[in-house]
């Protein structure tokens, strides 16, 4: 009986010791939630800008003080992790990066190579790999991008995250690259990374004021445009928006997009197609010991706008005419993309990877000097656009049916 009491007493003490709480807990009010990070170069060190959100100002149930919704701090240290921990020097809370949404790298840093700055993000246990990586374009300092007060979403990192995410679903000019994708592209044989560009349009000073978000036409906005292309994991050039779209089509990373094409019967006027079903296939043939890559892009599309004169869309043959015209222009876009990549010897398309996957033995011979071989690879394009619909009306008002 005594034994039983003694053991139950011990059990109570043990429970108190073991169930009292977590050893190293950090309560929410002790954490500063970092949603965006920007990396610039400052002499030999990295200058890390961290954007933490101000929950009291963002929460919809609370009436805030009208202070800024986010809080940026900048720290300089030789390593990223040290800068991150130094955050607390300027902030009352510890930096917590599990909810990181965007990482903006300045062009200067990207030109030196991205592998050493990315190491921390793969190594640290707090980091999840679902945030997007961007490059600050036009010599814009990454730090300044984080400083813009953007309308609608006042936190710039959230603004960029949403812009990229929804852009990929509705226009296709943006390319979503998460940390995992970046790792794959940076280390896998025969493919180089490409990262989305971001820049500031308008006046930088005014953009940092709160009044920027108070205007109907803000003087300063962020702009997601262009794609940074890499060779040996260092930035070597940029693709423009059309070429970025072309790349998305080639790699099959597009979901919904709109493109404008010239009318088959007149050079000045345009029609627009909304694509909704994209499928890209590739094949690699070996002819005379040289690889030839056959790209096939199948697109299902609607006609979403017609400005062409004298084009009767109620006739079936005109559909084929439009299809053919669109296909030709589309091939030209794809060619442009590949041409630009070849000019920089940067295999962002992953032709090397295609050869590796289909003909591993051929790849072994090409692998060692792939950067030189890549511009010589022949590519054939086949685009099949299948127009099924013309929207709510058949012909434009200019037509008399």
């Amino acid at each position: 009986m005594l034994m039983k009491r003694l053991s139950s007493g011990l059990l109570v003490i043990l429970s108190v010791l073991l169930l009292s709480g977590c050893w190293d807990r950090w309560e929410l009010n002790e954490l500063s939630i970092i949603t965006g990070m920007a990396i610039d170069k400052s002499d030999e060190n990295y200058e890390l800008t961290m954007q933490s959100i101000n929950p009291a100002e963002i929460a919809s149930q609370e009436i805030g003080n009208g202070y800024a919704q986010s809080f940026n701090t900048t720290e300089i240290a030789p390593t990223i992790h040290e800068s991150l921990r130094k955050h607390v020097n300027k902030s009352p809370r510890r930096a917590f990066i599990s909810h990181l949404q965007v990482l903006v790298i300045s062009e200067e840093v990207a030109r030196e190579g991205i592998t050493n700055i990315l190491d921390f993000f793969y190594r640290d246990h707090e980091v999840r790999s679902d945030f997007f990586v961007l490059v600050a374009k036009d010599d814009q300092r990454a730090k300044e991008i984080m400083g813009i007060v953007t309308p609608l979403e006042n936190v710039p990192s959230q603004n960029m995250f949403d812009s990229l995410q929804y852009g990929a679903r509705s226009y296709g000019g943006t390319r979503i690259v998460t940390l995992d994708d970046l790792y794959q592209d940076a280390t896998a044989p025969g493919i180089e990374p490409s990262l989305m560009g971001v820049t500031v349009v308008g006046d930088l000073e005014e953009g940092q004021e709160r009044s920027n978000a108070e205007k109907n036409t803000p003087s300063t906005t962020l702009l997601m445009e262009g794609l940074a292309i890499f060779r040996n994991n260092a930035l070597v050039g940029w693709l423009n928006q059309d070429q970025s779209k072309g790349l998305n089509y080639i790699t099959g990373d597009i979901r919904d997009s709109v493109g404008s094409f010239t009318c088959p019967n007149s050079q000045e006027d345009e029609f627009a197609l909304e694509s909704f079903k994209e499928r890209t296939k590739y094949d690699v043939r070996i002819v005379n010991h040289k690889p030839i890559i056959d790209l096939t892009v199948d697109i299902g599309a609607h006609i979403s706008e017609v400005n062409c004169k004298d084009l009767d869309l109620s006739k079936e043959e005109n559909f084929y005419l439009i299809q053919e015209q669109a296909e030709q222009e589309f091939v030209a876009t794809l060619q442009e993309t590949v041409k630009e990549a070849k000019a920089h010897q940067a295999d962002i398309v992953g032709f090397g990877q295609m050869i590796h996957r289909k003909h591993p033995t051929v790849w072994e011979q090409l692998e060692d000097n792939w950067a030189e071989e890549f511009p010589n690879v022949e590519v054939t394009y086949e685009v099949n656009i299948n127009i099924t619909d013309t929207g709510n009306i058949i012909n434009s008002f200019s037509e008399d049916d």
Binding site: W23, D130, D180, A188, K358
Partner: protein
């Protein structure tokens, strides 16, 4: 009156299932992928089939000595002195691996959830629960295994079904390009870390199972399910995360769980999924502990070992804490010590036992693949064990 614990075949099947998965469920794909890149998923498929041969050896031994543990089998096959040497060799497997696996799993917990909690605290709490399990006996352990099934299979299936839409077949291409040498090396890892580990089952099966025949079936089912799970997880890791990422990731299956995103709202659930690894590592460690305890019982001819459990547990906590100085040492242990050691104990030793056994049995004209005795016979055998076992071959 029952003199010996009786594990039901179904519970035992779960026990084998968890123990086969063990730490391999968390980290196997890394070691396979670092050798074979995109081809790594072939190894679990081929090796589990070949490994069935090894498991068959265990069942042959079980059929020959249906009321013994591996320690008693050794004595009966090789005779007392040489048998003891081989039993000690077998004992080295749990003794070497218990601290190693504890260290691996505590590092995992430290890495992801409790970064500044001291190692020894996590290890002490973990081993405390294991010791409690052993204290309760093998029968409650097996029942717990059966009860844990829900908490194991639901998160596991959830992990599989939510990540399978993310499969990119391109990551698996080109197919079958790895050299034979790398294949053999990866195969030896699987043979060492997964298949040879099943040998610890010989301290439970056949002795503690009343229904031997059904127990054998449970061993096969558990082994098959374990290998199937490992195959699926390895495949998913490579096809979802890409071989490049898996090859450098310490805990690829955990990274896979981080990818879960069901309908945009059910995400960041990897901390919940970890229960899968906790369950299978727990039961694997419990079986290792059981091996050590049974060995003490056997070597020191004790009737009860309960009083020794806390002492052994304390020793194991400190052993786990001081086992590795750093992660590099741990990796080289798995590469250069664990694999050859496990293969020696889990594959070569049973081969030797069966070979010697066959020669002896041929001489005595005993059947090479006897049927299991029925329950009544087993009961009788257990009671007259002291007198009969010495005469048994």
């Amino acid at each position: 009156m029952r003199t010996i614990a009786q594990v039901s075949p179904r519970s035992y099947g779960f026990l084998v299932f968890y123990a086969t998965c063990s730490t391999a469920l968390l980290g196997l794909s890394t070691s396979l992928t670092s050798f074979l890149h995109q081809d790594a998923w072939i190894i679990p498929v081929v090796a589990s089939l070949l490994g069935a041969g090894v498991v068959f050896l265990y069942t042959v031994l079980a059929r020959w000595y249906p009321i013994s543990t591996i320690y008693e089998m050794n004595d009966q096959i090789f005779g007392k002195p040489i048998g003891t040497v081989f039993s000690l060799l077998f004992l080295s497997l749990p003794v070497f691996h218990f601290p190693a696996i504890t260290s691996y799993s505590v590092t995992f917990i430290q890495n992801y959830t409790l970064p500044s909690t001291p190692f020894i605290v996590i290890a002490a709490i973990g081993i405390g629960i294991i010791a409690f399990g052993i204290f309760s006996g093998i029968e409650p352990i097996a029942r717990t295994a059966e009860l844990c099934f829900v908490f194991f299979i639901v998160p596991l299936l959830f992990l599989i079904f939510t990540t399978s839409p993310l499969i990119d077949i391109g990551f698996l291409q080109p197919y079958f390009t790895s050299s034979m040498f790398d294949m053999t090396e990866a195969f030896s890892i699987f043979l060492g870390n997964v298949i040879s580990n099943v040998v610890i089952q010989l301290t439970v099966f056949p002795k503690y199972l009343a229904k031997k025949k059904a127990g054998e079936r449970a061993l096969w089912t558990g082994y098959a399910l374990g290998c199937l799970t490992l195959t699926i997880i390895t495949f998913l890791c490579i096809a979802v995360l890409s071989p490049e990422l898996v090859a450098v990731d310490h805990y690829p299956a955990f990274t896979l769980a981080q990818e879960i995103n069901a309908a945009g709202f059910l995400q960041r659930v990897e901390a919940t999924i970890t229960v899968v690894w906790f369950i299978c590592i727990y039961f694997n460690l419990v079986l290792y502990f059981h091996c050590i305890i049974i060995a003490l019982k056997h070597f020191l001819k004790l009737t009860s070992v309960r009083t020794l459990i806390p002492a052994i547990a304390l020793l194991l906590v400190y052993l786990a804490d001081y086992y590795f100085n750093n992660i590099a040492e741990e990796r080289s242990f798995y590469q250069y010590v664990s694999v050859p050691h496990s293969i020696t104990v889990g594959t070569l030793l049973p081969i030797l036992m069966v070979t010697v056994g066959i020669i002896k049995r041929k001489k005595h004209q005993a059947p090479l693949y006897p049927a299991y005795p029925d329950e009544a016979t087993v009961y009788k055998l257990h009671h007259s064990k002291e007198t009969k076992s010495s005469k048994q071959i």
